[in-house]
C-alpha cells in the first residue's frame, strides 16, 4: 500500500522571475508581471505554456488564475488554489498544494506564482489615517500594534529573553543575506554590501528590530512550474524533486491577541519535523537552507525549530563565517556534521533572500533552493543535494519545503 507522501512524486520543471525592483518601481502592471514570470518558468522548463493546467498561490495574491489561464490561452484549467494566511507563510505551502494536485491526478502541469507591485495598491507597512479597529484588532491596533514588525517583534523578544540571545546573532543573519547578494546580479542590493558598523548604526524600526533586520518591499513576480517526477529526466535541467513539504502551526498558535500558549516561536515546531519526516531526512542531512526573513528574529527561531542548532547554541552558531556559502565555510561533509549541530555551519539565504535579493514573499527563496540542487546558484554550495526552505516564520500557517537531487530519491 502506498504511503501518504509526495516524496519524489513531483519535480520542478522550471523557474521564472521578472526583474526585481524596489517597491513602486515596476514599469509593468502587477498582472503583467505574473504573466511574465509564468512564461519565464515555462520557457525555462521547455514546456509550452498552454500546457499549464493548474495554478497555486498564497497571501491573497490578487491575480486570478482564471484570468491568467485565459490570458495565456491555456487549453484547460484543472486546479486553482489559494493557501490561506498572510505574509510569506504560504510560500512553501503553495508548492505543497500544487504537488498534491499533481500526485493525486487533479492536474498535470501546475505553476506556483506570486506577483507583487505594492505601489499600485497599498503597502504592507503603512496604515490608513484615522479609522477604527474591529474585532480582535481592537485589542491591539489602538495601542499602536499595526505593522507586521509590530505584530511579531514580541514573539522574538520573548524567545530572546528565555534563551539569552545576543544582537550579534541577528546581525549575522542580516549580513549573510547581504553578503550573498553581492554575487547575485538579480539582487536589489547587488553592489550594496552591509558592514557590521552599518548594521549597528541603523535606526530602530521596532526594538528589538533595526532597519536591516527587516525585509525590503519590492515589485516583481516569481513562478515555479511543477510536473510529475516521471517527466523530470526529459527536461532541460538537472532534475530537482520535492522530497517533503508541510504547512500549519502548533497547538493554538493562532489564539487571538498574542495568547498562543507557546508564544516565543516561529510556528515551525510541528511543521518542520513533519516536512523532514516526509522527506526522510534530519537537519544534519541538509546541505543548504533558505529561511524567510520577514525579520531576522523569525529566521533565528525558524532555524532552531528546523533543528539546525539548539537555542543555547544560537549565539555561537550564528556568525557570518558559519552562514556564508563561500570562503572556507561551505558545508562540511555529512560525516562531520554532528546531529543537530552540523559542525557549526549552514549556508543560509544564498541568493540574498528577502533582505537583499528581493521580497517576493519568499517564492524567490524556493527558486534559490531549486537552483542549489541544479548547481546554478550565484553562491553555489558544492555538491548540494538537499535544499530546504522555511517560509514565513511567526505567522500562521507557516510552511516548509525539502528539495532533493536525483541521488536523494
Amino acid at each position: 500500500m502506498d504511503e501518504f507522501t509526495i516524496r519524489g512524486k513531483v519535480a520542478v520543471a522550471g523557474v521564472g522571475e521578472t526583474t526585481y525592483w524596489k517597491h513602486s518601481q515596476s514599469p509593468h502592471a502587477e498582472f503583467k508581471l505574473a504573466l511574465m514570470a509564468i512564461l519565464a518558468a515555462a520557457e525555462d522548463a521547455g514546456i509550452d505554456p498552454t500546457e499549464i493546467d493548474g495554478f497555486a498561490s498564497y497571501s491573497n495574491d490578487r491575480n486570478d488564475p482564471s484570468r491568467i489561464a485565459a490570458a495565456l490561452g491555456c487549453r484547460e484549467l484543472a486546479f486553482s488554489n489559494m493557501q490561506w494566511g498572510g505574509g510569506g507563510g504560504g510560500g512553501s505551502a503553495a508548492i505543497a498544494n500544487a504537488a498534491a494536485a499533481i500526485a493525486c491526478g487533479y492536474a498535470r502541469c501546475v505553476v506556483v506564482f506570486r506577483a507583487l507591485a505594492q505601489g499600485q495598491f497599498q503597502r504592507f507597512g503603512q496604515a490608513a489615517a484615522g479609522g477604527a479597529a474591529a474585532g480582535h484588532d481592537a485589542f491591539t491596533v489602538p495601542y499602536g500594534v499595526m505593522s507586521p514588525a509590530q505584530k511579531y517583534a514580541m514573539r522574538y523578544q520573548r524567545f530572546a529573553h528565555e534563551h539569552g540571545i545576543e544582537r550579534s546573532a541577528l546581525r549575522a543573519i542580516s549580513m549573510a543575506s547581504y553578503h550573498h547578494a553581492q554575487q547575485n546580479p538579480r539582487a536589489v542590493m547587488y553592489g550594496r554590501p552591509l558592514s557590521e558598523e552599518d548594521y549597528d548604526a541603523s535606526r530602530w524600526i521596532t526594538e528589538p528590530f533595526r532597519l536591516f533586520d527587516c525585509c525590503q518591499e519590492n515589485d516583481g513576480a516569481a513562478a515555479i512550474l511543477l510536473v510529475a517526477a516521471e517527466r523530470a529526466r526529459d527536461l532541460p535541467h538537472r532534475p530537482c524533486y520535492l522530497l517533503g513539504a508541510a504547512a500549519g502551526s502548533e497547538y493554538r498558535n493562532g489564539a487571538p491577541v498574542h495568547n498562543a500558549p507557546l508564544y516565543g516561536t516561529s510556528s515551525f515546531t510541528t511543521v518542520a519535523p513533519r516536512a523532514f519526516a516526509m522527506a526522510g531526512i534530519g537537519a544534519a542531512d541538509v546541505d543548504v537552507a533558505q529561511s524567510y526573513e520577514n525579520f531576522t528574529g523569525g529566521v533565528l527561531m525558524s532555524l532552531v525549530e528546523h533543528g539546525f542548532f539548539a537555542p543555547e547554541e544560537a549565539n555561537d552558531f550564528l556568525t557570518l563565517d558559519n552562514l556564508r556559502a563561500d570562503g572556507g565555510a561551505g558545508t562540511p561533509p555529512k560525516s562531520d556534521r554532528r546531529p543537530g549541530g552540523r559542525g557549526g555551519k549552514l549556508p543560509l539565504n544564498t541568493s540574498g533572500g528577502n533582505l537583499a535579493e528581493c521580497y517576493m514573499h519568499g517564492l524567490e527563496l524556493n527558486i534559490e533552493a531549486v537552483r542549489q540542487v541544479r548547481g546554478l546558484s550565484p553562491n553555489q554550495v558544492e555538491g548540494a543535494e538537499i535544499s530546504v526552505v522555511g517560509s514565513g516564520p511567526m505567522v500562521t500557517p507557516v510552511s516548509s519545503t525539502v528539495f532533493g537531487a536525483e541521488a536523494t530519491l
Binding site: 489615517a129 485589542f139 499602536g144 509590530q150 520573548r158 487571538p256 491577541v257 495568547n259 508564544y263
Partner: protein, 142 residues
C-alpha cells in the same frame, strides 16, 4: 490624557467583545470565562477552547499582571504617529486570570527600561470626547 497621540484608530465593540469595552468604561477589567469548565480565555471567542462550550461568560480579573514581552516602536506606521516619540507596547500576563495576556502601552518615559517579569497594574485611559466614548486599558509599573 491619552498616551498615544489623538487620531489613532479607535476600538469598535461588537457582539463578541462588547462586555469588555463596557466594563472598561466602568474601570473594571473583565476576561472571558467559560460558564461550564471555568477556563479563562483571551481574546474573546464564541466557544471555550478547553471544553467547546458556547456558554462563555465574563469574569472580573485582578488589575495586576506581569510583563511577558515588549517592543519599543519607532517607525510611524500610522499618520497620527508621525514626528512623535517612540512608544512601548507591553504584553501583560495576568497570572490570577488563567495566565491570559493583554496588549497595551507601558505608561511613562518611552525610553524607560522594560523588564520582562516586572509587575504592572492596569490604568483605564478614558477617551470621553470620542463619539461614542471609549476606554483603553493601559499599564504602569507598580
Amino acid at each position: 490624557m491619552s498616551h498615544l497621540p489623538e487620531g489613532m484608530p479607535r476600538p469598535l465593540a461588537d457582539e463578541l467583545t462588547e462586555p469588555f469595552w463596557a466594563a472598561a468604561r466602568e474601570e473594571r477589567l473583565v476576561v472571558q470565562r467559560c460558564g461550564d469548565c471555568e477556563t479563562w480565555q483571551w481574546g474573546p471567542e464564541w466557544c471555550c477552547h478547553a471544553c467547546r462550550s458556547f456558554e462563555m461568560g465574563w469574569a472580573e480579573a485582578p488589575t495586576r499582571g506581569r510583563i511577558y514581552s515588549w517592543e519599543r516602536n519607532y517607525h510611524p506606521v500610522h499618520p497620527a504617529l508621525r514626528g512623535r516619540d517612540p512608544y512601548v507596547v507591553v504584553l501583560v500576563e495576568l497570572p490570577e486570570a488563567g495566565g491570559v495576556r493583554m496588549v497595551g502601552n507601558l505608561l511613562g518615559d518611552p525610553m524607560q527600561e522594560v523588564r520582562i517579569g516586572a509587575e504592572v497594574e492596569a490604568v483605564f485611559e478614558h477617551h470621553d470626547e470620542a463619539d461614542p466614548p471609549y476606554t483603553l486599558v493601559q499599564w504602569r509599573y507598580v
